[in-house]
């Protein structure tokens, strides 16, 4: 169920370029469990979109099935949303994007939705380089069906009822990198300072952007022994760099100390300013990114932050050579060849 939120707005709330406050980007009141990591993701999305001054109705919220996929209800009330079927959000988003390339596609999925039932669709939407932001709220557990192990659970961990995860985990970031995603990041829902700029960068990125967001399930996977609990993640999270998002309009005026900072210019002219914490941090090499993830995992660490970006990659519409006008706005006079042409087609069959 969804509750009506109070429409009260504080007089002095800051407004963005469109004259909107962050409250204009909110959704219905969340019905997820109190403390659910997914609510932090919703909040980060609200702040990212508000601060980027995106018109809310120019966003389409896409999701599959599960707790994660309910989340789009809780942000961006003025955007259309589509809660599709389990594991099939990528295909629906593909079609939606084919129909209207001008909207921003923000997709929310979960580990069951993307790493199990929808693994095939996940893999193929990565290959297709669809221009979208694909977020997985990864809690290593099936929340809505009450605590079964997910394919992203680490091998050997126990769920709340004591079942042991017997098999290797699926790392969606590694898969996305292997399949050629042009933007791959991993975040922790509890770290807003990291998550908000990365969501902004993913939106600004022209092409397929994947963010795996470790988002603890307070009800079914927050126990000792879980590797997706708040405590465990906080203790084991590490990052190679701090990423900041600098929108187009802001001038970059301070000096960049050599070696420690890297600026990546995005398609729309905005800039990703990367503050390297480790010397060998490199976002341009996807094979190295795979290695980094695996090496940290071997040490028991969760590597977060922007893992790979290729700002020059072509998206699906460029590869398809789709026309500039969104296909859903094409009129009959352009689409229908008409009577005369049909006459000559008939002749070709005589």
């Amino acid at each position: 169920m969804s509750y009506n939120k109070s429409r009260f707005k504080h007089k002095h709330l800051p407004v963005n370029d469109l004259g909107l406050t962050y409250r204009d980007y909110e959704g219905a009141i969340s019905t997820l469990c109190a403390g659910c990591g997914h609510d932090s993701i919703s909040s980060a999305i609200i702040h990212a979109c508000a601060e980027m001054s995106i018109e809310p109705h120019k966003i389409a919220k896409m999701s599959g099935i599960g707790c994660s996929s309910k989340a789009p209800n809780y942000f961006l009330n003025n955007a259309h949303g589509f809660n599709t079927v389990h594991g099939r959000m990528p295909s629906v988003t593909t079609g939606a994007n084919m129909a209207n390339k001008d909207l921003t596609y923000l997709a929310m999925s979960g580990d069951g939705d993307s790493a199990s039932i929808g693994l095939g669709q996940f893999a193929h939407v990565v290959r297709r380089q669809l221009n979208m932001v694909y977020m997985v709220a990864n809690n290593g557990v099936y929340g809505l069906t009450k605590g079964q192990l997910a394919a992203t659970s680490d091998r050997g961990v126990k769920n709340k009822t004591g079942d042991i995860s017997l098999f290797n985990d699926i790392d969606l970031c590694v898969m996305a990198l292997q399949l050629g995603a042009s933007f791959v990041a991993r975040c922790f829902s509890g770290d807003k300072n990291q998550l908000v700029p990365i969501i902004k960068a993913a939106i600004a990125h022209q092409g397929f952007a994947f963010i795996d967001i470790i988002s603890p399930c307070v009800t079914f996977n927050n126990h000792p022994g879980s590797t997706r609990s708040y405590d465990y993640v906080q203790e084991h999270v590490t990052t190679g760099a701090v990423t900041d998002f600098v929108p187009v309009k802001e001038e970059i005026n301070h000096q960049v100390p050599e070696g420690k900072f890297e600026d990546v210019c995005l398609h729309d002219g905005s800039v990703l300013r990367i503050h390297k914490l480790t010397a060998d941090y490199d976002t341009s090499d996807r094979f190295k990114a795979i290695q980094d993830i695996e090496q940290h995992k071997a040490k028991g660490e969760i590597l977060t932050g922007l893992l790979h970006i290729d700002p020059t990659a072509q998206d699906f519409h460029e590869l398809n050579n789709t026309t500039d006008t969104p296909l859903n706005q094409m009129k009959q006079d352009i689409l229908c060849p008409g009577e005369r042409v049909l006459g000559s087609i008939n002749d070709s069959f005589r």
């Binding site: 955007a79 949303g81 079609g95 939606a96 084919m98 209207n100 669709q121 789709t322 026309t323």
Partner: protein, 617 residues
């Protein structure tokens, strides 16, 4: 000796697939049409790319009896050693065998009661051509040339066809005509031409075209304004998409930029294929997918979503023989119930049953209007026979005055003036609500599309009364749909007879001949061809107006009959099933035999002498 006949015969070509026979055989069929003769051609092919037997059966008939004749053939062109024995057996007494006599056939394969027309085709090719590929390809052209002499086909017609086929490739024309000549001359010099069975020019074609249904479906989608396609290759539906794409490459390229005014996405499976189509339709683009058999099963979940969330989408089902993988290269009409009620829960879908390429074109374009207006899936129920074989057909028609009807979609201006928008409010009482498209209005009309229960304002609800109200409205919408569907075609030739025949789709090819045969037996029948589901009121009326109804269909279980019984509450005893499900197109002979058998059985029952009487003692 076979009875001499003009313009009435069946010829069958037995080939090996992958040897280039298809275009030669097609040239033969097309030559019949260019001679002004009604013709039908059926390709009977394996699920295989190279080396397996394949047949092409052509029927020429002046009375337009163009369903499969069934029974044995008059002329067999046996070019495949693998199937030779069976092919020999397939020739009717007094019929003709045209074969490659380069090697002598063993005495055991000599039948007394047929005519052997041996042409040393391989030897001729070996002598004339150097390249192995050409030796193979021209074999086919040579037998077409020989048939021209044997059947008195105008040679000029064949020459024009070669010219048409290789337009722009001048170099290929002369060698092809030369190969035709080789066959023609050989037959002229060695046999008594023409055979007692042959053709004579007539003017029975009018402005008809000869084309396959899949081309028509693909083209209809171009004219209907489809821009987005998600698809997964599966026989026999693949060519729907291939034709759509190739017409788009010709007709839908932006002249200024060279960019595409369409997007065809090859999906990872059928689930994704229909998911894409639904996503695009949700966003306001006309979108479709095509599939058959197994694809329908896989798409069921998404069809339920589109039904319940009320998203338009067009699905073209080119049916093949099921269940499971079934006979993937044979025809059937066996997905009727699977499509009418696809998906879990209470669902119903709109079905259109085209019977010809011109109707494939018409229904394909129409499906987009219907689906937009009704905000629900529309499934076109073609089949392999219609989709992959070329049929004589009325030409495609389009009227430039007809405008796309996108149904109840609110514009930004309409939203501005609207006090209260609720996605699932039945404002007009017809069960069809107003929808909005993403990106239309800054702060009005946005909602969360979902497959879960929701109230009139698209807000999630688990309240029983909201759920029930919604499900009842969907029923109301389906009743509205029944009035929008193409009406069943009812023949008014002989009215008020006792017997009525119900048929649909490709069974119509056999109907003209069926009616003729029954009439000759003194059994006049009325006919009704169903074109759509939900059924219009005329369907029930036709059934009520007749004492006995035969439902002709190409499946084992009488699925259309079940649908009629279920939806119209007809007494099942009144509907007699006439079923053909061997994977080959239905024949008039079988329909008439089945009806006769039924009548005889009924008479037996009515005959008091044969009733079992109680013993009196």
């Amino acid at each position: 000796m076979i009875k001499p006949s003009i313009n009435d015969f069946v010829i069958k070509f037995a080939n090996t697939n992958g040897t280039g026979s298809a275009s030669a055989n097609n040239m033969f069929a097309k030559a019949m049409m260019r001679m002004g003769l009604p013709v039908s051609a059926k390709n009977i092919f394996p699920s295989n790319i190279q080396g397996a037997p394949t047949w092409y059966e052509v029927r020429v008939n002046e009375h337009n009896f163009l369903g499969r004749r069934g029974g044995k053939v008059d002329i067999m062109v046996a070019m495949n050693a693998q199937s030779f024995i069976a092919d020999l057996d397939d020739i009717g007494d007094g019929g003709f065998l045209l074969y490659d006599s380069s090697k002598q056939i063993p005495a055991s394969l000599i039948r007394e009661n047929i005519n052997y027309l041996g042409i040393p085709i391989s030897t001729i090719c070996l002598k004339e051509y150097q390249q192995p590929r050409l030796r193979q390809l021209f074999k086919n052209i040579i037998y077409v040339g020989a048939l021209a002499a044997l059947l008195k086909i105008e040679f000029g017609v064949l020459k024009t066809l070669v010219g048409d086929q290789f337009k722009g490739k001048q170099k290929l024309i002369t060698p092809n005509i030369y190969a035709l000549e080789l066959g023609y001359q050989y037959a002229m010099n060695h046999f008594s031409c023409p055979l007692p069975i042959h053709v004579e020019r007539r003017d029975l074609i009018g402005n008809q075209i000869m084309v396959d249904g899949n081309t028509a479906c693909g083209l209809g989608a171009v004219f209907g304004g489809a821009t987005v396609v998600g698809w997964y290759p599966i026989t026999p539906s693949t060519s729907v998409i291939e034709k759509f794409a190739s017409y788009c490459e010709r007709l839908r390229i932006d002249p200024a930029t060279g960019k595409k005014n369409f997007a065809v996405v090859q999906a990872e499976d059928e689930l994704a294929a229909i998911g894409m189509a639904i996503g695009a339709s949700w966003n306001g683009a006309r979108s479709f997918t095509a599939t058959s058999g197994p694809g329908i099963s896989l798409m069921a979940e998404f069809l339920g979503l589109a039904y319940f969330a009320e998203i338009p989408v067009v699905l073209m089902n080119i049916q093949r023989a099921g269940p499971s993988t079934g006979m993937p290269t044979r025809t059937q009409q066996s997905d009727i119930l699977a499509c009418a009620y696809a998906s879990h829960g209470d669902t119903k879908h709109i079905l259109l049953f085209p019977d010809s390429p011109s109707e494939c074109f018409e229904f394909s374009a129409l499906a987009f209007d219907l689906s937009d207006r009704l905000q629900t899936p529309v499934i076109i129920m073609s089949d392999l026979d219609l989709g992959m074989n070329e049929h004589l057909s009325k030409p495609f028609t389009w009227n430039d005055k007809q405008k796309y009807d996108h149904g109840k979609v609110l514009s930004i201006r309409e939203l501005d003036t609207l006090e209260d928008f609720g996605r699932y409010q039945d404002v007009d009482g017809d069960g069809i609500c107003y929808r909005t498209l993403p990106g239309t209005h800054p702060n009005k009309g946005a909602f969360f599309t979902r497959g879960t229960s929701r109230d009139k304002n698209a807000v999630y609800t688990e309240k029983s009364e909201h759920y029930v109200e919604n499900m009842e409205r969907l029923e109301r919408k389906f009743a509205t749909a029944a009035e929008m569907m193409p009406k069943a075609e009812i023949s008014s030739g002989i009215q008020n007879t006792i017997m009525g025949l119900i048929y649909f789709g490709t069974s119509s090819q056999a109907i003209l001949e069926t009616r003729h045969r029954l009439k000759e037996q003194g059994l006049p029948v009325d006919l009704m061809r169903i074109k759509a589901f939900p059924f219009g009121s005329e369907v029930k009326q036709f059934i009520n107006n007749h004492q006995q109804i035969y439902v002709i269909e190409q499946n084992r279980d009488g699925q259309m009959r079940s649908l009629i019984v279920n939806e119209l509450e007809i007494d099942p005893a009144k509907l007699i099933p006439i079923l053909c499900f061997d994977g080959l197109a239905i024949t008039a002979k079988q329909i008439v035999d089945d009806i006769d058998r039924h009548i005889t059985k009924q008479q037996d029952i009515l005959n008091p002498d044969q009733l079992i009487k109680p013993e009196v003692g």
